[in-house]
């Protein structure tokens, strides 16, 4: 009897408490007091399978914003500072969509960035389009993100069809340079948005250039055992293996491939998991000779690149990657557009973004020379670089090898790779 009464009281109190909370939050609005501030909402994966790269994205944004704010903020807005709001997308598109709605309507952000995973970026940018808020996409590669005729989406990264195109062009160049003929391809990729997008691109290009696809193997990124996949790779015995992986499966796959002595003339990866610092840390020599495709590498011959990388490494303990450089550059694209717009009006901002021609400043550590958006919001100059992972002086290093102009001085790529 006594226990029932206590429970009753407890439940009444909890109910009342929740009611009060709801009322408070319902009627409250988040008032922003103080000097003029540019609010930027950032929807990135801070938990889940892409957490590791999401956190890198947050760190590099922080670094860039600090630099911009310390240099006086946005002068045409009276020295307004950039204020960043981060929301964890959990790599879940629904969370991304709801987060965007909230950031726009409640936090009243002026600009949005995100979301790393193409699957999240794709619908989330539509929310921004709905409300007319500029959305900068630093990293997501899915072609269709900038193929919908949207006016408010601006992407800094290259499209995934450019990525796959360049991987195959690289391959053909290697064939010519080393006089090696490649006939068959094995495609092994994570079965999410990203992997399946690349696979579609590869298959088209293979047809175009006459390569035969002997293995088409999507695998779940969270598989508990990748040995069956590796066995299929061994059986297929393709000349070249193309990979798309997230961090954990990249490690598992690489180690298992070495265990089973899978051989090929070349292994070409697509960034993401393979570019993650954890990959080299955990695979070490097993990753020797693998080619990886990224938008940027630490040995790119651009002024300031080395210094910026060192600054970042000192603060966070690991190097910049292509994706982080994209995010870094994106913050400067935003600062530049704000500067030119001189206003926080969304339409004026959007026009400022569309007219971007950024070719100077700290953002120029990128591997190409200027950021300009075409009429669909796509950065038309975005380029990629192919690196080879080699053990040099006892350490694993990533060495730029392609395009020829970006190749690190004094290095000749190894193609084909030696047998295991």
């Amino acid at each position: 009897m006594g226990k029932r009464k206590i429970w009753q009281d407890v439940s009444i109190s909890i109910f009342a408490f929740l009611l009060v909370c709801s009322l408070v939050f319902f009627t409250g609005t988040l008032a922003q007091a103080g000097p003029k501030v540019v609010k930027i909402g950032n929807i990135i994966p801070l938990s889940g399978p892409s957490a590791s790269v999401g956190v890198q994205g947050k760190n590099v944004r922080e670094m860039a914003v600090e630099e911009i704010n310390n240099a006086g903020g946005i002068k045409s807005l009276g020295g307004a500072k950039l204020k960043m709001i981060y929301v964890d997308s959990k790599s879940d598109p629904t969370v991304g969509v709801t987060a965007a709605e909230r950031l726009i309507n409640t936090n009243k952000v002026h600009i949005l960035t995100g979301c790393w995973n193409s699957a999240v970026t794709y619908p989330t940018t539509q929310v921004a389009e709905r409300y007319g808020i500029p959305f900068i996409v630093p990293v997501s590669v899915r072609d269709t993100i900038t193929e919908r005729g949207f006016k408010y989406t601006f992407r800094v990264a290259a499209k995934d069809s450019w990525w796959t195109r360049d991987q195959i062009l690289f391959l053909r160049d290697m064939e010519k340079e080393f006089n090696v003929k490649v006939k068959t391809l094995a495609l092994v990729y994570e079965n999410g948005d990203w992997g399946t997008g690349f696979a579609a691109g590869w298959k088209k290009l293979a047809k175009k250039y006459g390569y035969q696809v002997v293995l088409d193997e999507p695998y779940p990124s969270t598989a508990s055992d990748l040995a069956p996949v590796v066995m299929k790779m061994k059986k297929a015995n393709a000349d070249v293996i193309m990979l798309v992986s997230n961090a954990a499966d990249a490690i598992l796959l690489t180690n298992t491939m070495v265990e089973f002595k899978v051989n090929a003339k070349a292994i070409i990866a697509s960034g993401g998991g393979h570019a993650d610092p954890k990959f080299l840390e955990n695979c070490k020599k097993n990753a020797d000779y693998i080619f990886d495709e990224v938008e940027w590498e630490t040995d790119v011959g651009k002024p300031g690149a080395k210094e910026t990388n060192e600054k970042f490494n000192k603060r966070y303990g690991y190097n910049l990657t292509g994706e982080s450089v994209d995010a870094y550059a994106s913050m400067y694209v935003i600062a530049d557009a704000l500067e030119r717009a001189g206003s926080l009006d969304p339409k004026k901002l959007r026009d400022a973004f569309a007219a971007t021609k950024l070719d100077s400043g700290p953002a120029m550590i990128i591997s190409y020379d200027s950021i300009e958006f075409d009429k669909d919001g796509q950065n038309k100059n975005a380029g990629i670089v192919i690196v080879q992972i080699r053990e040099l002086n006892g350490k694993m290093d990533r060495i730029s090898v392609w395009p020829k102009g970006a190749r690190r001085a004094g290095y000749t790529p190894v193609f084909p790779m030696p047998a295991r």
Partner: protein, 294 residues
């Protein structure tokens, strides 16, 4: 043909490890009649414990068993005592005792997300003396950590079997699983038995954790992947059957490995679910289980 053989060997090894993860579940399911949805999370706890031990002390993963197993035993013992026992008592007058399912799901959410908060979302791998080692069996490449896992499974299963059949405590557990009221008439404290059974079940998850760490990675939701497989194996092998769990695991492992040679590995997941559904309809007591009045 020789690739099929390789795939089969890999399947047997990996499958035995699946069986090891399912051993605890089948014991708990068979004795306490509890569907423990938190089993995957317990495995995750075992893996993290092994991970931190190995990372901080560099100890051999199989030596780590000495610490991990008792730790997990007590974890399970008290989980049963604090969380599940009250539900049993409260459930006397409620239709369909499925409340335990919900409670264990609650435990699952809590454990997985606590470890997310404590350890972060990243995937962690630790290199041990075993990682990446292989040896040759004729023409076949055998992964060393998986092989040791296979051995560990057999040893654990045999020990468990002997414990249940030969020791007093073991016999008490079996008696309680058949008829708990009769057992308590015999002077057996049924709740204490449940605690011990749960503890043992969780301890085997600890063994599985130590076995998996040398070649797999750990992250907060790693339990979810194994959880569903465990249920499928337990049903396939038969509730409460130790050899059923091991054999069921091997069957699943071989199917996964061999079928993947003929279709995309993303479809093998579907095949396993299909088999699960078939078993549930055709022979729910599994291959080796006793008839249940579910």
């Amino acid at each position: 043909m020789d690739l099929i053989l390789q795939a089969t060997v890999n399947g047997i090894l990996m499958g035995s490890i699946y069986g090891l993860t399912a051993l605890g579940l089948t014991l708990i399911f068979g004795v306490i009649k509890v569907i423990n949805f938190a089993h995957g999370s317990l495995l995750m706890v075992g893996m993290y414990t092994a991970y931190w031990l190995i990372l901080l002390t560099g100890i051999n993963p199989y030596l780590a068993l000495i610490i991990v197993v008792p730790l997990l035993f007590f974890f399970g013992y008290y989980m049963q005592e604090i969380v599940i026992k009250p539900v049993f008592k409260a459930e006397r007058d409620v239709r369909e005792p499925i409340t335990v399912i919900i409670v264990t799901t609650g435990v699952w959410y809590v454990l997985d997300n606590l470890s997310l908060i404590l350890f972060g979302a990243e995937y962690r791998v630790v290199k041990t003396g075993l990682s990446g080692k292989t040896f040759l069996l004729g023409e076949l490449i055998v992964s060393a950590p998986k092989f040791y896992g296979f051995v560990a499974t057999i040893v654990t299963a045999v020990l468990l079997y002997l414990f249940l059949k030969k020791t007093r405590m073991g016999k008490a557990i079996i008696a309680t699983s058949f008829d708990r009221d009769a057992a308590s008439l015999m002077g057996i404290n049924q709740y204490r038995i449940y605690n011990i059974a749960f503890g043992i079940g969780t301890a085997t998850a600890g063994v599985a954790g130590c076995v998996l760490i040398p070649f797999y990675y750990v992250f907060p939701t790693v339990g979810v992947i194994f959880d569903i497989r465990c249920f499928i194996i337990v049903v396939l092998g038969g509730l409460g059957s130790i050899h059923g769990a091991v054999l069921g695991g091997i069957i699943i492992g071989v199917i996964e490995s061999v079928f993947a040679q003929f279709m995309a590995s993303t479809w093998t997941e579907g095949i396993i679910y299909a088999i699960f559904i078939l078993i549930l309809f055709i022979k729910p007591s599994g291959l080796f289980g006793a008839r249940q009045d579910w």
